[in-house]
């Protein structure tokens, strides 16, 4: 298979463009979408690629209304904290009206939001709120870590009949990675095994997958074999994938940048405790961001993110 080196930022757009070619119902709009993606305007025209007024509520609401009535909108809501202006539309409408209407409507739409450390812009731009949506019924949530998954999950998200929140980790967006050519669709709900190991499972998503891989290298030097699981889809969560790894290693460190309290890691830890308790050789450990807004100041922003040494230390502790 031929692969190209592409940034995740571009891979998302490539995935979108392929789906727009494939399905005329796919449209995209957002604050500056047509300015930033002029190549899409040239190929698909101003009807399908639009700039909007600066108004997240109506962007998300318009997407939901259009999705229920025949279009497949992909909307870019920029930074995750701006989603708070669109919560009503995403959570109450897109997420609930399928169920509430007795299944009369569905909402095939994708909302993109950037998040995470890497730009030193502070807590009103950087806030990992993906678990808010995991907690909201009717909505799927993905957060890829590789360029190939940015593209492949975007394609799946667009084809999905449900509203999908697509979280893009800013820290990853501009580092090129391998992307297979062609119609490479990555299924939603399937975790990826990034590294095989036998002593401990490091379970993560987004930029901390890379930190786990680095931690695994540190651990290897000490004779600890760490497996790294990339969840990439937070809802549905690949329970079987998580459990098969933990049943093998008997130990789990769950890692994410989002704050720990009621985060995705809490759910993963609960699943492990409920379904693999008898196989556990040590308690499940969570390594996460603190219960604080990320500061703008660069060193504080970086310290917010679980780093390889912290992850390795946790793994070492439970492997001792």
């Amino acid at each position: 298979m031929t692969t190209n080196m592409i940034t995740p930022d571009q891979a998302m757009v490539d995935g979108l463009a392929e789906e727009m070619r494939r399905d005329p119902r796919v449209i995209t709009f957002g604050e500056g979408t047509a300015t930033k993606h002029y190549e899409l305007v040239e190929e698909f025209g101003r009807k399908r690629v639009r700039n909007t007024p600066l108004a997240e509520g109506i962007i998300a609401g318009t997407a939901a209304g259009a999705a229920a009535t025949g279009l497949r909108p992909v909307v870019d809501l920029l930074f995750a904290p701006f989603l708070t202006f669109a919560m009503e539309e995403l959570v109450n409408s897109a997420g609930k009206l399928r169920f509430i209407s007795g299944g009369q409507f569905s909402f095939p739409m994708v909302a993109i939001a950037r998040t995470g450390a890497g730009w030193a812009v502070g807590g009103q731009h950087n806030h990992n709120i993906e678990s808010w949506f995991v907690h909201s019924p009717g909505i799927k949530v993905v957060m890829p870590s590789t360029a190939a998954d940015f593209k492949g999950l975007m394609k799946s998200a667009i084809r999905d009949e449900n509203p999908v929140m697509f979280f893009a980790d800013i820290g990853l967006l501009h580092t090129p990675g391998e992307v297979p050519e062609g119609d490479n669709v990555v299924p939603i709900g399937k975790a990826a095994l990034r590294r095989e190991g036998s002593d401990v499972s490091l379970i993560s998503y987004g930029k901390t997958v890379g930190k786990c891989l680095e931690a695994a290298n540190l651990l290897l030097a000490e004779g600890i074999s760490a497996e790294v699981i990339d969840l990439r889809s937070l809802k549905p969560l690949d329970e079987a994938g998580v459990l098969s790894s933990v049943l093998k290693t008997g130990r789990a460190v769950v890692v994410h940048e989002a704050s720990g309290i009621c985060g995705v890691g809490a759910e993963v830890a609960a699943i492990i405790a409920e379904k693999a308790f008898s196989q556990l050789k040590a308690p499940v450990v969570r390594i996460t961001g603190p219960d604080a807004p990320p500061a703008a100041s660069y060193p504080l922003e970086q310290a917010f993110v679980p780093q390889p040494d912290r992850i390795a230390a946790a793994a070492r502790r439970i492997c001792a």
Binding site: T35, K36, L54, A55, F82, G122, H125, A296, Y298
Partner: protein, 322 residues
């Protein structure tokens, strides 16, 4: 330390000096960003007359709410350039200890409060500030700076309507700079003046040439006098232009060249310099000396920011809860 009193009712030469300070400060920040010294930030180059004109009409009782494009408002109100620059650099000596960075700098001691980089965030808070001023009989008025883009958020309309029906002492200042990040204002609304929207909610409004500092100051004085007398809100639109990009660096490839050069020729600072020299208010030598003073101040701020320490890691979770 600059006191707020010293900046009230400034003379026109003082206004020019403040505008020069803002311009020089922001160009320096952009230069430092380009050199890799600091994260990105938004400048208000081209809009200095709006900040200086409005703020010169306020006094020490008044409270100011602002947004991501705030350096002009902060400096016009008398903030210490060293500490603003340090905050932009995320340093411990910044006004918010480096936790804000450039985008949400508040300086309570000079009445610049509750800065939000969520577009429209400041509009949602201004009514509450107005309510406190009204109910606690604090005398001052709440002045809220926001952009033409913020006016397309629903919260703008909710804010103005509530201020109207509750008679809140809020001065809404829409800095209509024709841009909303990478989208031209005309792509987002069928009207040209945000004051038209304000008027539909039953409040007093005015639009002023935002590049003429004396015109802005006069319009703001009228608005402030009206609010102090009636307790009711007022919307002042300063019609201006964002001469640099949205966020540094920005090649402005998406900007119409003709429009940009038309507005460049209306640069509020060059126009005022020319006028003051022609009118004999200021000699060329005095102007040069003024620029040198400003340059030195800004250089000192840059040095202060660069040499200041970053916050210590215990600050990661300090101050989240009261």
């Amino acid at each position: 330390m600059t006191t707020v009193e010293s900046i009230v009712d400034r003379s026109v030469t003082q206004k020019l000096e403040t505008m020069l300070l803002i311009r020089t400060f922001e160009e320096k920040s952009a230069e430092l960003k380009a050199a890799g010294h600091s994260p990105s930030m938004c400048t208000s180059v081209g809009q200095e007359a709006s900040a200086v004109g409005v703020i010169s009409a306020l006094d020490e009782r008044d409270l100011i709410l602002t947004n991501h494009r705030s350096a002009g408002h902060l400096l016009a109100r008398g903030a210490d350039p060293n500490r603003v620059m340090a905050e932009i650099h995320g340093k411990a000596t910044g006004y918010c200890g480096g936790k804000s960075g450039s985008l949400h700098i508040s300086v309570k001691e000079i009445g610049v409060i509750l800065t939000s980089t969520i577009v429209g965030g400041e509009l949602s808070l201004a009514t509450g500030v107005g309510l406190s001023l009204q109910m606690l009989e604090m005398q001052g008025i709440a002045t809220v700076f926001f952009g033409d883009g913020a006016a397309t958020e629903g919260i703008f309309h909710e804010s103005v309507n509530l201020a109207a029906v509750w008679d809140l002492p809020v001065l809404y200042v829409c800095e209509n700079n024709q841009w909303q990040a990478y989208v031209h204002r005309k792509e987002t609304m069928r009207i040209d003046h945000i004051s038209e929207w304000g008027a539909r909610y039953g409040i007093r409004t005015a639009t002023v040439d935002g590049n003429d500092v004396e015109a802005v100051a006069a319009a703001a004085r009228d608005a402030v006098a009206y609010i102090r007398e009636t307790g009711k809100p007022f919307l002042l639109e300063t019609y201006t232009y964002r001469l640099r990009g949205h966020m540094e660096p920005d090649d402005q490839a998406y900007v119409d060249k003709e429009e940009l050069s038309r507005w460049r020729s209306k640069d509020p600072i060059t126009a005022l310099e020319r006028k003051l020299v022609t009118d004999g208010v200021l000699t060329a030598t005095e102007l040069a000396a003024m620029k040198e003073t400003v340059r030195k101040k800004v250089e000192a701020a840059a040095q202060f920011a660069i040499t200041s320490p970053y916050p210590t890691l215990d600050q990661l979770t300090a101050g989240v809860y009261a």
